[in-house]
């Protein structure tokens, strides 16, 4: 156990150091690294629902977009009239001083995080009445509707989008600033879920995943747990959206804020690849997926989506338990699972014998 603790500490420190030095060692790739941390955050938040709780949301990207727009509006609104700013479409001479910019960004991040959390709590009231594939489609509907409504709303620029306030620092500073912001967001997200999974919450949502009717029959407050799981995911997704919008410099509904078919699917694919229902699976999945993505975008341009599609198919057909689940099934002792039993019962996922016996 000591050895495991030490190894875990070394791993954490190594990742922390790598995260801190990356933008200085490879200054030209800061944005790619920043997006990588956002991917880690995506996978961690999706797994809280899809992995730990068994509720496969296809619409978690909604909170990313909501956070992005909420933050943008706050950033502009503290200096300009939002309607005029968006209507001018960059034609009026806008200038944000350094204090204005950072006040707006700070305030915007808070509003994005809390606003997304509140929206998730409200949506959960409606959507958690449905289960399984209906829930998945219902959440997808929310994401698509959010994108369309935003595109039709001229006050926030509609489909034209919004040019974000310009970062006040010198060249290279902007990339570095947002890299560290994304890094901190991902680390906080990891620490939060690590803590959350150490509480009673974890077993309760696992119980909902295994048999929600049974969980209800045991008197669990299932709605509470489901709401907290989604709201926590939305909190971090809202922050990531706010940061991503500023990093890109331009916000529009379909490609940037609510990219259902890219980021919205990536967050699921990464989690499944790494191993759902585990803390580290999503992180491993995000890493492998993102490296694959960058490699295929560089060397297989034009075929990149086909390559990613093949990766997803191989994953769901041959390695449904994901990378971490696959390793866990083969090397349980690495995960501290000890088998004390001598009576022949195996801890592997042997099919329950219930079918053989007449109930």
């Amino acid at each position: 156990m000591m050895a495991t603790g030490k190894r875990s500490a070394v791993l954490h420190i190594a990742i922390l150091v790598a995260g801190l030095v990356a933008p200085f060692v490879f200054p030209g790739h800061s944005v790619q690294f920043a997006v990588f941390w956002i991917m880690v955050l995506f996978a961690l938040t999706w797994d809280a629902m899809g992995g730990q709780m068994g509720y496969n949301s296809l619409g978690n990207i909604t909170f990313f977009g909501l956070g992005m727009y909420m933050c943008t509006i706050v950033q502009i609104a503290i200096v300009y009239n939002v309607g005029e700013y968006t209507a001018a479409n960059g034609a009026i001479d806008v200038h944000f001083t350094s204090p204005q910019y950072f006040t707006g960004l700070g305030l915007g991040l808070v509003v994005a995080a809390i606003g997304s959390t509140i929206v998730a709590a409200i949506l959960s009231w409606v959507l958690f009445g449905i289960r399984g594939p209906y829930f998945a489609i219902g959440t997808l509907g929310v994401a698509v509707a959010a994108a369309e409504l935003t595109a039709a709303w001229n006050w926030v620029g509609g489909g034209q989008g919004i040019a974000m306030p310009v970062f006040p620092g010198g060249p290279g500073m902007r990339e570095r600033f947002f890299y560290f912001a994304c890094f901190v967001a991902a680390v906080l997200c990891y620490l939060f879920f690590r803590w959350l999974y150490s509480t009673r919450f974890c077993l309760a949502v696992n119980a909902i995943r295994d048999d929600e009717d049974k969980a209800e029959a045991m008197g669990l407050h299932t709605r509470r747990y489901k709401m907290v799981a989604w709201a926590a995911a939305a909190f971090f997704l809202g922050i990531s959206g706010a940061l991503f919008g500023n990093m890109t410099g331009f916000v529009e509904p379909l490609e940037t804020a609510y990219p259902t078919l890219t980021f919205g699917i990536f967050m699921i694919a990464m989690t499944l690849l790494g191993g759902k229902g585990t803390l580290w699976g999503p992180i491993i999945g995000a890493t492998v997926f993102y490296v694959m993505r960058e490699v295929t975008w560089t060397y297989l341009l034009g075929w990149q989506y086909i390559a990613l599609g093949i990766l997803i198919i191989v994953n769901v057909v041959f390695f449904q338990q994901g990378i971490l689940g696959w390793v866990k099934a083969r090397r349980p002792e690495w995960f501290g699972v000890k088998i004390e039993e001598k009576s022949g019962a195996q801890p592997s996922a042997a099919a329950p014998a219930r079918k053989a016996v007449n109930a």
């Binding site: 959350l196 009673r200 048999d211 045991m218 008197g219 407050h221 039993e341 195996q346 016996v357 109930a359």
Partner: protein
């Protein structure tokens, strides 16, 4: 003075044109072991589902400790201390036995903040103690889904005890259990009733089991209550025998 814990008054429940329960009235005394027998399809499980709030009843009234519960949902009723086990046995299959037990702790007074607490060592001890009680201690670290059907039934029973209910509705607790283990199970059910003071209301097909176990038995057939009384009386009641074997026309 009799102390009624569950009272069912004139309950009707139909599914479309099929009448599953017709004007059922019965009472379960606190601290008793009450049996419910009847041929397949006679409406026993439907009645259980209605009592625990899974099905809304068409008419009638269901009281638990004097409180009307026929309009309450499953979770609220469970939190009052009226729990059920399932005929098909339901456990949390990807979690290990200890985890199954811990998540089953009573949720009666659980506040919002409780979900962010950890499990205190006393609860883990209690979980292990109850697993020991049903004879699953050596399997405690195994995934519940890897247990045999009979072991899963025992686990489900232990989970119900962990929840500290006032009354427990057991739907065929011995179905699918190895006959040599049945005596042990009867003994444990009786001990749960006596030592933990849990009222048991049991659906059972195995006549030997129910005659051994119950203080009072109700018999249903075709959605109606047919007979009730002490085990020996019900067993010899010609209407009960007819219901099971078919009346001589």
């Amino acid at each position: 003075m009799s102390d009624t814990i569950i009272e069912v008054r004139g309950v009707n429940k139909s599914f479309g044109g099929v009448v599953a329960n017709k004007d059922i009235s019965l009472t379960v005394e606190r601290g008793s072991i009450t049996g419910l027998i009847g041929p397949n399809g006679s409406g026993k499980t439907t009645l259980f589902n209605s009592i625990v709030g899974l099905y809304p009843i068409d008419s009638g009234s269901i009281l638990f400790e004097g409180r009307e519960i026929s309009r309450m949902n499953v979770q609220s009723i469970a939190r009052l201390g009226l729990l059920r086990t399932f005929q098909q046995t339901r456990i949390f299959s990807k979690m290990d036995c200890i985890q199954n037990m811990l998540v089953s702790l009573p949720h009666r007074q659980s506040a919002w903040s409780d979900m962010f607490r950890k499990y205190p060592p006393e609860l883990c001890d209690k979980a292990e103690h109850l697993l020991e009680f049903v004879g699953l201690y050596s399997k405690r670290k195994l995934t519940a889904g890897s247990l045999s059907f009979g072991q899963q039934k025992l686990l489900e029973f232990a989970m119900a005890l962990m929840n500290e209910p006032q009354a427990l509705l057991l739907d065929e607790p011995t179905a699918g259990i190895n006959p040599t283990l049945i005596n042990g199970l009867i003994d444990r059910l009786k001990r749960a009733n006596r030592e933990y003071g849990i009222t048991l209301f049991v659906i059972e097909h195995n006549m030997r089991v129910i005659m051994n176990l119950a203080d009072h038995i109700y018999c249903m057939a075709f959605g109606q209550l047919l007979a009730s009384g002490a085990p020996a009386d019900v067993k010899d009641d010609p209407r009960v025998i007819d219901a099971y074997l078919g009346a001589a026309a």
